[in-house]
């Protein structure tokens, strides 16, 4: 039975990769490219109308208004009336770690068993051949942070660029963060859990979990200070948190949990990032005072409580913006990250400016991930991670990525969906618009 299943899987795989297999990573940039006549969204709030952007050997060499002074030897792309954006950055995602969420366990690599796995690394499980990745980058997402999930300490993540032969090529910044799920009281779905006399209450269970996290971190800190007799992989993995080379990404939604998480990080001298932050609007002072950024997980979600403003998740970015809290944004899951631009655009109807919304998924995310020196805005010296859209890239009515560049490489924007669209349009004799 198993054999047959595997065989079936292979067969399916062969069929699926029929078109996908021809989408190859692009060759390195061989000559200078200049995009002219475009509206350039720098990413930091600045918009250059009728601007140009030049890049060579993968780096941005000039950005300006009007016409470039010198175009000799360069490929010039006339983008009059079009929009140029920094490549969108998708933090905290399972892109490349999961291919099919359910019913195909063999394609799922986002969780390791056990509670405390700071040593596991998502980078090596990142599947550059995923059929999902091209569908995501077709919408302008050019960098991502494939992130382990599960347990209490899930593991470490890296930032990858989305056009690569293998994970080594893909690595953009390696092992930048450790991911912690802040323990919460797991209440029954329908009613408060009934606690039998003598049994552990959910509250107690949570406190125990917190103790374990505390013990691990304090021990790891001591371990980091002196050369140990025995190597401990878990402690080794946490070392970077105490030297400042890694950040601790803490998944926490409740105000209480956020307060706990921030003071935990403070005590240990760790740079923390709150991921989720549904109730971060209740503790903006704390976040601001401690310089703890928040990566909002989805604007397109429901409020946590029936009593909340029905639009609260749409308004959350604006609230954090006004409160001076550093914030970024991610979507959810893996394939759904192709909606990241819309997740950002969603906040515009509820108070954010379009450029602020853009910053959320470009420079803000870059800063939080520690890659803002090389990407996140369209500024001279940074990597040429950018794309041209026919119209406003945050709006589904106008998003239309015509060409995209990662480190100057002109990437292939084809994907499985476009191929199947073509295949069946051909079958029926329909015109592709």
């Amino acid at each position: 039975m198993k054999k047959i299943l595997i065989f079936g899987g292979l067969l399916l795989g062969t069929v699926l990769t029929y078109g996908q297999a021809t989408i190859s990573p692009a060759k390195p940039q061989s000559k200078p490219i200049i995009i002219t006549g475009a509206t350039i969204h720098v990413g930091n709030g600045q918009v250059i109308n009728n601007g140009y952007i030049a890049f060579d050997k993968g780096k941005i060499t000039a950005v300006g208004e009007g016409s470039p002074s010198n175009t000799s030897g360069a490929d010039v792309i006339n983008a009059t009336g079009k929009q140029v954006y920094p490549g969108f950055i998708c933090p905290v995602t399972t892109l490349g770690l999961i291919e099919i969420e359910e019913g195909a366990k063999g394609t799922v690599d986002n969780e390791e068993t056990g509670e405390l796995n700071p040593n596991v690394r998502s980078l090596i499980a990142y599947n550059t051949d995923s059929k999902v990745i091209p569908t995501v980058r077709s919408n302008g997402i050019l960098l991502a942070q494939p992130t382990p999930e599960g347990g209490t300490l899930s593991g470490q993540s890296s930032v990858v660029q989305l056009d690569a032969w293998n994970w080594e090529d893909a690595a953009y910044k390696t092992d930048i963060a450790v991911h912690l799920n802040w323990p919460i009281v797991r209440a029954g779905r329908r009613r408060a859990a009934i606690v039998l006399p003598g049994a552990e209450s959910p509250d107690e269970a949570r406190l125990k979990q917190l103790d374990e996290v505390n013990n691990l971190f304090t021990a790891a800190k001591a371990y980091a200070e002196a050369k140990p007799e025995t190597i401990n992989l878990k402690f080794e993995a946490l070392k970077g948190l105490f030297t400042g080379s890694k950040k601790l990404f803490i998944n926490a939604d409740g105000a209480k949990e956020i307060i706990e998480a921030v003071s935990f990080a403070n005590k240990l001298g760790i740079k923390a990032v709150i991921v989720g932050g549904k109730e971060s609007y209740l503790v903006t002072n704390l976040l601001k005072q401690n310089n703890v950024p928040v990566i909002i997980r989805e604007t397109q979600t429901l409020p946590a409580r029936d009593e909340d403003d029905v639009y609260l998740p749409y308004k959350l970015p604006k609230i954090l913006q006004d409160a001076g809290v550093e914030y970024g944004l991610t979507g959810i899951g893996f394939w759904r990250q192709r909606n990241l631009p819309f997740e950002a655009g969603q906040a515009v109807g509820y108070g954010l400016t379009k450029e602020q919304a853009l910053s959320m998924i470009t420079i803000n995310n870059a800063k939080i991930l520690g890659i803002d020196k090389t990407t996140g805005t369209l500024e001279k010296g940074k990597d040429a991670n950018l794309f041209i859209s026919e119209g406003d890239a945050l709006d589904m009515l106008t998003l239309n990525v015509e060409s995209a560049f990662i480190q100057g490489r002109n990437i292939n924007l084809d994907n499985l969906h476009k191929q199947l669209y073509k295949k069946f349009s051909d079958k029926y004799g329909l015109k592709i618009e």
């Binding site: 009613r191 409580r305 009593e307 709006d395 009515l397 669209y421 069946f424 029926y428």
Partner: protein, 1012 residues
């Protein structure tokens, strides 16, 4: 030990026995005449009549006479009750007295597939239908439990089995210490029902809608059973036999009561409802049932609200319930709903009087309280000729009290049951409360302060002067004997123990002997000196009785008044007509009486309210073809492959916040579907988002019926397994799915043919009825579907069996079979861009809608998700992103096209004179990510308004704040509080949702309804 106790108990019973003809006697007969005359009492005969200075004569177990100036014959024991009261003893209309503790279905990981009952005997197929259970055959009087009831003044109870959907018959019994043969007042008082399957191990039903369908089918089966000769079935025979009894239905909240009442009306029944006491939530509807109620006095405790972050976990409903629940009895009285009160559900029997008085503080009258505890339950349960009031020939069940029964100071002295005395507090006992001077060796100078009532005294001791001290002590009184102890802490230190008796009553003097800490003895006496100073009496401050308004629905953002339809002229908007006119710039829309009156330019306002919509866009309300909101008790009845008898329309939940949230996204109509756990699921329901109306009123009038079918991984249970075992419910492969359909429709055809010949001699089967409707095209199919092979299969089955598939929903590979769908006139309702979430969607593409549309298929985008539903406008916008559909056509994907496939495009889906005034005013192009739904109208009623919502949020916060303040106040005054619990949220469903690993105990529905 146990044996010994039993023996002692038996001995007590036999102390003196009733003359019971059929039982032999051990020893010498001790039959007593039981003749008593209670004189000079204020006799409350019933809620209407009181006899001052009356006499009650009883003989053995019954009342001989009640009246004034009665001559007392010789041979009576005369009890002078001057200044005291006699009341008929109370009846608890809902208990499990005398029954073994109800077993609960234990959760086990090894639950097996149990499609039909395994109970031995000629019973019905489903164990949840157990009308053969009769309390009379298992009832056994329980002296210990009776005592708790008797202390509260109860003399008789209804006793019923709380297990199953049809629960069999109950009894009414007295609480007498008699043989079981003598306490029975009515051996078949009522037939009892609920929607909770209890301990039944039969898998079906696993959902509330399954329970309801089962009740419905059982009524039909029972009717059929009466006229057939094929089988012998004890369950159905008993079910039929019990129809003449009062029918009591255990419900929970008002919506559950309405669900039961719908069944009652369908089958010409009238239920008495036992509820959770939340009738105030939907009072008018409760009154309209015309039924009587049995309501509890279980009022929610206040919450611990001092930690504001923790307090956020309390829902608005919980706050409102806390405030309003104590008003329920009073509100019901005022509304004229007939009801009995029960102590059922109280965690501590002592709360009965506390809570009853709380209800009276909130306006419940004494008359009503007495009625609801005596006459009404007696009438309900067919025992008013025996108990419930005091009259000749009735049972000698009565109370002797110090005062008006309902006064706070009242003391119940005696509770006579069947002419036998049960002493609660001794009549002769004088109240010992007061300050006493203690004398005795080493005790001089000590003052005793006795507070409280007979039965529960508290003691304080005090000594002034050089050795001044103050301490609490313990005071126990047994008849005229007293026992007290306390520790003066110094001189001497240690516990001083005193015994004594009431040696004089004027002034009250207690005398006796004491043992000092050093072991020496002394005599003591204490003489009453003063009353307890007023300030030290526990005088409860008047409770804060003001309550906020009931909101409709009973949820956050409910309205105190449901808004009404308006006559409005929207001026100068961009109007997306979805009609020939296309998108009109600078156009007007006029709505009146819930309908669109006109669409065009420069319309006259008349008496309409004018709304300037310059720069805004107006579209028809959004229609979601595939939704699972606003339904409760499980969305899947997946326990059988075919469950066409279950109906979403039975389990609508009008209080779901998602109705409101989606109005805020422009959704006005949703098609609520059964889940996708089985090939033939349940009947669906098309609703409008009329926020605040009753579930039945949400239904879109005149919409044709639909049913959910499903294909693929869910129905073959690919992605889950039942706890503990292999999946064995057929089908487990796509091959099996085809056979389920062929078999079901073959049976349906045979069934129809047989009924055409033999009529009702062929058992009516609601499951097959629905399939026959499909064959006649009066019920339409919307079929959950993904991959092309199975889609093709169902089209073939439909062709060969002679039915039509109306809609393929999800249909993510529709683009692969678009030519076939087109040829068969089948509509496609898909997701805009979902894929990769399971194996069967690995070739789902966001161009699917575009291809189907271009092939001429009626195409829609749906949500299947309470979050996505509120931005379906954007999802439609993605048809522009992927495939560049025109904006006009893209909007139709979520408005006109779903209306068409649901056969209601004559009412909704476009802006055209005569259609329903379901429309949305958008801030900008509705397909844009930047669009905000500023106003949403359903039938001309402004249910959503962005600006008004801001005000509503403030009101909501203010009301929450007010109630929380009140809770803190109550806590400070000593009210019991409960910690804030989790899990208040309603579960949300998508089509894969299987309740807790497939088979839940239906009791959980009750829990769910409560924890909203």
């Amino acid at each position: 030990m146990k044996k010994f106790l039993l023996c002692g108990f038996a001995a007590l019973l036999c102390n003196f026995a009733r003359a019971q003809q059929t039982f032999p006697v051990n020893g010498v007969q001790d039959i007593r005449p039981g003749l008593y005359a209670f004189t000079n009492a204020t006799i409350v005969v019933n809620s209407q009549q009181t006899i001052p200075n009356g006499t009650l004569l009883i003989k053995d177990r019954v009342i001989e006479s009640v009246g004034a100036g009665t001559a007392i014959p010789k041979g009576y024991v005369v009890v002078d009750l001057k200044g005291k009261y006699i009341y008929p003893s109370l009846i608890d209309a809902y208990t499990s007295y005398g029954l073994p503790d109800a077993p609960r279905q234990a959760f086990t990981f090894n639950r097996t597939i149990t499609p039909v009952s395994t109970k031995p005997g000629a019973y019905g197929w489903n164990e949840a239908i157990r009308p053969e259970m009769n309390v009379k055959s298992i009832f056994h009087a329980d002296g210990e439990k009776a005592e708790a009831f008797k202390k509260n003044g109860f003399g008789a109870v209804q006793s019923l089995i709380h297990d199953g959907i049809a629960r069999g018959t109950s009894v009414v019994a007295t609480l007498g210490d008699e043989r079981d043969n003598l306490v029975m007042l009515n051996d078949e008082a009522a037939a009892n029902y609920s929607f909770s399957k209890g301990t039944a191990v039969t898998n079906y039903p696993s959902s509330l809608m399954g329970s309801i369908a089962l009740v419905r089918q059982t009524y039909l089966d029972a009717q059929w059973y009466g006229s057939q000769k094929e089988e012998y079935n004890i369950s159905l025979a008993e079910f039929n036999r019990e129809q003449n009894l009062p029918q009591i239905f255990e419900s929970t909240d008002p919506l559950m009561t309405l669900r039961a009442d719908k069944i009652a009306k369908e089958f010409g029944k009238k239920y008495i409802y036992k509820t959770d006491g939340e009738e105030y939530r939907r009072l008018d509807a409760m009154k309209a049932t015309g039924s009587s109620f049995i309501i509890p006095l279980t009022f929610p405790e206040a919450f611990d609200v001092e930690d504001p972050l923790q307090a956020r976990k309390i829902s608005y409903e919980q706050l409102k319930d806390w405030e309003l629940a104590p008003n329920n009895p009073a509100i019901m009285e005022k509304t004229g709903i007939r009801f009995a009160l029960t102590s059922y559900g109280l965690t501590n029997p002592r709360d009965f009087w506390t809570n009853l008085r709380t209800a009276m503080d909130h306006g419940l009258s004494e008359t009503q309280a007495l009625k609801s505890l005596t006459e009404i339950p007696a009438e309900m349960l067919g025992v008013s000729d025996k108990v419930g009031s005091l009259a000749k020939g009735k049972m000698a069940n009565f109370l002797i009290t110090s005062d008006d029964l309902f006064k706070k100071e009242n003391v119940i002295y005696e509770n006579w049951v069947e002419g036998r005395q049960y002493i609660v507090n001794r009549v002769s006992a004088i109240n010992l409360a007061g300050t006493y001077k203690l004398s005795g060796n080493g005790l001089a100078g000590v003052t005793l302060r006795i507070t409280g009532n007979p039965g529960s005294y508290e003691l304080g001791v005090q000594r002034s002067g050089t050795d001044s001290t103050r301490a609490r002590g313990t005071f126990i009184r047994t008849g005229d004997m007293v026992n007290l102890y306390f520790d003066l802490k110094n001189n001497p230190a240690g516990t001083i123990r005193l015994n004594g008796y009431i040696s004089s009553t004027s002034p009250v003097t207690l005398t006796g002997g004491a043992i000092l800490p050093d072991g020496t003895s002394t005599n003591w006496s204490a003489t009453y000196s003063d009353p307890v100073p007023a300030s030290e009496k526990k005088e409860p401050t008047k409770p804060n009785l003001t309550a906020g308004p009931v909101v409709y629905p009973f949820a956050a953002f409910g309205n105190a008044e449901i808004p009404k339809a308006e006559t409005v002229l929207f001026k100068n908007a961009t109007v997306w007509t979805n009609e020939k006119d296309g998108i009109l710039k600078n156009a007007d829309v006029l709505i009146e009486n819930g309908k669109i009156k006109a669409v065009g330019k420069n319309l006259p306002a008349g008496n309409a309210k004018v709304i300037d919509a310059t720069g805004k866009h107006i579209t028809a309300g959004i229609v979601d073809e595939h939704s699972h909101i606003a339904a409760t008790g499980g969305i899947n009845e997946g326990t059988q492959a075919v469950t066409s008898e279950v109906r979403i329309g039975d389990v609508l939940d009008s209080e779901d916040i998602n109705l409101y949230r989606q109005l805020a996204g422009g959704v006005t109509t949703s098609h609520i579907l059964h889940g996708s756990a089985n090939p033939i699921g349940g009947q669906t329901m098309l609703i409008k988002h009329r926020w605040g109306v009753l579930p039945e009123e949400m239904k879109l009038e005149g919409a044709p019926g639909f049913i959910k079918f499903a294909l693929g991984e869910n129905v073959k249970q690919s992605n889950f397994s039942l706890p503990g075992g292999p999946n064995t419910r057929f089908p487990q492969s796509r091959m099996g799915v085809e056979q389920v359909y062929v078999d079901a429709f073959t049976r349906a055809k045979e069934y129809e043919a047989a009924r055409a010949v033999k009529g009702n001699h062929v058992r009516r089967d609601l499951e097959l009825d629905a399939l026959v409707e499909i064959l006649h095209d009066t019920r339409h199919i919307t079929c959950h579907s993904y991959v092309q092979s199975e889609i093709n299969m169902l089209i073939h089955v439909a062709d060969s069996m002679g039915f039509k598939v109306n809609t393929f929903t999800h249909i993510l590979e529709g683009y692969k079979v678009a030519d076939k769908m087109k040829a068969h006139g089948i509509a496609g309702s898909t997701f805009s861009d979902w894929w990769a979430y399971k194996s069967e969607v690995s070739e789902a593409i966001p161009y699917n809608g575009k291809i189907m549309h271009d092939m001429g298929i009626t195409t829609a985008f749906n949500s299947d998700d309470e979050e996505m539903a509120r931005r379906l406008n954007q999802e439609a916008g993605k048809a522009v992103t992927y495939g560049h559909m025109s904006e006009e056509e893209a909007l139709k994907l979520v408005t006109l096209n779903p209306a068409k496939m649901l056969h209601v495009d004559n009412k909704i889906g476009s802006l055209k004179a005569g259609k329903d005034a379901d429309l949305v005013v958008w801030s900008t192009d509705p397909l844009s990510i930047y669009a905000v739904a500023e106003k949403t109208y359903v039938d001309g009623v402004p249910y959503w308004d962005y600006d008004k919502d801001a005000a509503k949020q403030k009101e909501l916060k203010a009301d929450e704040g007010r109630i929380i303040e009140k809770m803190i106040e109550a806590k400070n005054k000593g009210a019991a509080v409960q910690p804030v619990g989790g899990g208040r949220r309603r579960p949300v469903y998508d089509c894969d949702t299987i309740e807790d690993g497939a088979y839940v105990v239906a009791d959980d529905y009750n829990g769910m309804a409560k924890s909203k």
